[in-house]
Symmetry: C2
Subunit: 147 residues, 2 copies
Amino acid sequence: MENKSNPMIQAMESNGLRITSQRRWIAELFSVSTGFVLPRQVHAYISERLPGVSYDTVYRNLRLLTEINLLEQFDFPEGVRFKLRCGPDHHHHHFICMKCQRTFPIDFCPLDSGIVLPESFRVISHKFEIFGLCNSCTASKGGSKNG
Amino acid sequence: MENKSNPMIQAMESNGLRITSQRRWIAELFSVSTGFVLPRQVHAYISERLPGVSYDTVYRNLRLLTEINLLEQFDFPEGVRFKLRCGPDHHHHHFICMKCQRTFPIDFCPLDSGIVLPESFRVISHKFEIFGLCNSCTASKGGSKNG
DNA sequence: GTGGATGCAAATTCTTTGCAAACCC
DNA sequence: GGGTTTGCAAAGAATTTGCATCCAC
């Protein structure tokens, strides 16, 4: 591992969190993967590197990291998934590959397109995602294995 | 009840389903509510009219009705919710009130706005929802009670 | 009458919590 | 050393399943 320079580690530090090896591996996973992962996949990944890590530690950290805005949570049919939160520098949406779960930015926001709502409605948030198959997964029946 | 003319009942019949009183009340609920409801809310609603109805009957029917495309399922943070599926006559999206869970159609689809994706990407589906407060819920702190 | 639907109860799966021991700073 | 974090084990919540009984057609 040895990822002193991992920005997620730095963000954890600046939030006053202690850097344990469990957290180091979580940071490593999310800095490598560009997709949405299931808690059980996170646990599996860490288990390989750190045998004996417990499920609840993974859950606790996923929740914690989501609360401090380092991770982003998304409810999929098979359960909740997490991914590294995109920087606040520019608002965008995502194309999400249904096979490999990788995400690709879409620089277009439907809210900028002159949607008309009743005056009294107050917009708080919005979601826009496109689901499909990315280039690698369209090409090969097998597809990419990124989780 | 006596809702022979309820289109959801008719759709159930044409799918070969038997019309039980449990299903009649489920149809009644979804024809009255324009919003997303939680399974436990469905169960509560039916329990009031049909004491003793079991949770698993509600679940089984929600799943079944979703499979035959009469209901639409949506994953909210508090859990999965269901609502009557909009007819296939015209594609649209929704404004969803975060207080009363009612939905309001938005006649705008971001996919029609010239979004550019890599050639090789294959679009399978998409989601676009705006979350906020509807007029009744913006007006009164209390808001509407529709579930 | 018969096959589909229900209710019950128990099993699964996912997620959370309490607490003592271990560990980071 | 002191306060955080972890692992364990158990509790909770949501959802599913097996099976005998019941009921719509």
